[in-house]
Amino acid sequence: MKIAAVEPAALPAAGRRARAHVGIEVWMPLVLLTGALGYPFFLLITSAFNVGDPQALPAVEYGFTNFVDLTSHLDWIYNTLLIATGGTILGITIGIGLAWTIHRTTVPGRNWFELLVAIPYPLGPLVGALAWSQLGAPRDGLINRAFMWATGGNSPLFDIYTPLGIIFVEAIFEAPVAVLIIGAAMQRMDPSLEESSSIFGGGKWRTAIKITLPLMLPAILSAALFMFTSIIGSFAIPTILGTSARFYVATNAIYVLFQGYPPNYPLAAALGLVLIVITGVAVWLVQRVLRGRSYVVVTGRAYRPRQVDMRGWTWPLFALASLYVVISLVLPLGALLLASVQTSSDLAFDPSTWTLANYKYVIVDFPTTRQAIINSLILGVGTGTLGVACATLIAIAVHRSKSSGRKLLEQVTMLPQAFPRLIFAFGFLWMILTLPIQLYGTLLAVLLAYIVVFLPLAYRGMSGVVVQIDSALEEAARVGGASWSRVLRTVTVPLLRSGILATWALLFMVSVREISASLFLSDAHTPVLGPAIFSFWDSGGLPRVSALAMVQALIILIALYAVRRWAGREIKV
């Protein structure tokens, strides 16, 4: 659970601290992480207060002008908060509904839904935004065309290029996280808490509202926090759906500020800083609300949640869950697939005109995308492997070491969660440019950035696994005379296997779909998929960008399928 990991640790008493021993397993990662996070952050701050040469790094003249300038762009901040709040509310609602349907009802097909509703998240916002721009464009969006054809009128059903449209797409592609977090909490909840409510006369609704909901609150809030921060930093959806509709949130504004010449770094950095502060306030607020309410997390034990026969509601719930699968998976992939076999951006429905040439073009003929596919696979494997390795070492240091500073290490590890990745990537780029070693323009730079930004995700996965494994098991093996490395090899790692695989797969998928962190870090020698898709969206034409997005989706789907096969059903994304 995220919140548990972010929760501030009680600092040890000063006296104890002075004598405390900080082991290498703690200070090494702590120093490295502090550097990798702190230096970009430092450059970002200096840039935000830079009132001299906008391109000086670090700045030479300081002042508040940039923040003053921001006050004439309060709409960016307002819009960011609008979509983050709206997207979170809608996404959480969807998440609660789906988690409830999957874990707590007798609705048919629950196992299938559990599998399917997890997929939109790894598919990612870029695919989502591209697909929904084809589905929900007011004139020629597929859904609107179908609607106008059915009604015979020429007014569209809806327009996706609106704040509401953005909120909608954000919500459906973030909802799987809420399903996962809330679903896990539902499985951890002692069913007798609800049973006792019915025993004492509470009906289904009273039980749901007075007992279940408050007990789920920590999980709901931490899911909400996750979504909120991730929507605040989301780049692809507002850029693709908002920019041409004159709707600017922080991220697409920052992107334009960076792109224009002369680029206004200080204003963008100031805006980025405001975003980080907003995220920080959100984290703080949620932690305040949750203080002393970590009760759901307390029982590590998994229960079999009580399943409620929804009677008359069964089929409406089934229909709603199906609708979610349709709008988050079937329609987007269908729309992309359809567009990817076209010869022009004008969609033809006659299969005889369809072609696979676009796939050949992006996979074989076009060097940039060909290289981008290869690079993204390398990055996926690299981030997965190194991310898991780092996260495992940190998790073991945090949970098994007796060294002081463990809690601090955990907090620092989780810190990148609060940084919008687009902003962080820029600080990271600056850092790499000022480093004496030649990292800039190499895939290694992108890889390092990925590892840092996805470390919270990796740590959360690995820490859950490390905690679950009873140290008694390890000690038992050690008492048997096994050496430390043997214990690691024969006991710890096999026990961690499915958790490692799940985390690895998750990192692989998020790396393949990533765009924010790599947009500024990849270059001519190191194209990667996300920015390549984005660049195609810019100037490549609909059929080709759809084909490339389909390739990305396919890689992710194959990874999902493979990990399900190898690691069994406990794998969740």
């Binding site: 007798s192 049973e195 019915s198 004492f200 006369g201 509470g202 009906g203 007075k210 007990l215 309410r293």
Partner: protein
């Protein structure tokens, strides 16, 4: 039976029918299953008004499922459950009253104290559901909390209470609701041994005060013996034996019950003849032992041999010979283990070895020759498994 004790002023009105009805809860032909595995097999029993019944058995015997069926938390596949004359479940008539309408109370193994509420809110929950006036809620909650000694914790959040405190709150919550009957599902199993003994005294005390029909599920025979008017011993979904605690103790019907309740010597041998009293005499090793008057040999084991049970506390040892009579032998003390309040002997007698528990007074030494007497009344023929 405590059904006749005077009702406390504060005790819930058990309903007008309570006074007259003798069978307050009736379970007939109850059959329940989990995932196609039948865990309760066609059992029937009843609980009298104000009676305290225990369902006792090892884990997996179906006792909790039975209780949950009565509470309505599980749906049986067949049978009938009647509470206070009202059928709440009947597979035949298609009745299944939902839990919240059965007006029962239940204490869970995990206590199920709602962690997001204060102690007061926990206890007041049922009263709020019943739309009791706020002033009355306050009074009633305060009163039950005083009874369980938790009045000082009223406004505390329910988290951070100790196990025993949570248990008390759970009890208070149950009594405050003024239910038709109380169901307790292994309420003490999460407490440490000392607290368990204390809590079971308190539960018994509360039971006396409120005089509610109670079904108490436990796997702990001592607890069941201490607390119940009547015990039903369950095994693999069936009722093995039902009766008052002492009757079950003294006259177990099966080897399972003899083993499960108290400590017994299970002696295996053959039926020789009827003794002078007409009771059977069994040949155990070299010894012929007369069984309880009026008893009959029970179902033999698969090899045709019969079994008898002798409670470890009933055989007598003496240095000087017994004055004649049945079931007297010479014996030798082989082992002596002092357990504090009691002393346990392993005695060699013509029938083989016998375990005897007695008080640490006039201790016999290991190897000492003694005289052994087992009163026929305590030699109980039992059915083999």
């Amino acid at each position: 039976m405590v059904g006749s004790t005077a009702q406390e002023k504060t005790a819930p009105a058990a309903g007008p029918s309570a006074a007259g009805a003798t069978q307050y809860i009736e379970v007939r032909g109850l059959t329940a299953a989990y995932d196609d595995k039948v865990v309760v097999k066609d059992i029937s029993f009843s609980v009298a008004s104000g009676e305290h019944l225990s369902l006792l058995g090892p884990s997996g015997c179906g006792k909790s499922t039975t209780l949950r069926c009565i509470a309505g938390l599980e749906t049986p596949i067949a049978g009938e459950i009647v509470i206070d004359g009202v059928p709440v479940f009947s597979s035949r008539k298609g009745i299944n009253v939902p839990t919240e309408k059965r007006k029962l109370s239940m204490v869970f193994q995990s206590y199920a104290i709602w962690p997001h509420m204060t102690v007061f809110e926990n206890v007041a929950y049922a009263l709020r559901v019943q739309r009791v006036r706020e002033a009355e809620i306050k009074a009633r909650v305060a009163e039950v909390l005083r009874m369980v000694g938790m009045e000082d914790y009223m406004m505390r959040p329910a988290t951070n209470l100790s196990g025993g405190q949570q248990q008390r709150v759970a009890l208070a919550r149950s009594y405050a609701a003024r239910p038709k009957a109380m169901l307790l599902d292994e309420p003490l199993s999460n407490l440490d041994a000392r607290l368990r003994v204390r809590m079971r005294e308190e539960i018994k005390e509360l039971q006396h005060r409120f005089n509610l029909s109670t079904i108490y599920v436990t796997h702990d025979q001592e607890e069941a013996m201490a607390i119940s008017d009547r015990i039903i011993i369950m095994r693999e979904g069936n009722i093995e034996q039902a009766g008052k605690p002492l009757d079950i103790y003294d006259t177990p019907r099966t080897r399972f019950v003899a083993d499960f309740i108290g400590a017994a010597n299970i002696l295996v041998g053959s039926v020789e003849k009827a003794g002078a009293s007409g009771a059977p005499v069994m040949k155990i090793g070299e010894a012929a032992i007369e069984c309880a008057p009026g008893s009959q040999p029970q179902k033999p084991a698969s090899d045709g041999r019969h079994m008898i049970a002798v409670r470890t506390v009933y055989p007598e040892l003496r240095r000087e010979p017994f004055a004649g009579g049945a079931n007297v032998w010479k014996a030798t003390v082989r082992r002596r283990v002092l357990l504090g309040d009691i002393v346990s002997y392993l005695v060699e007698w013509p029938g083989g070895e016998l375990r005897i528990q007695s008080f640490p007074r006039d201790l016999f030494d290991e190897g000492e020759a003694v005289h052994l007497h087992i009163a026929p009344a305590h030699v109980i023929p039992i059915a083999a498994d």
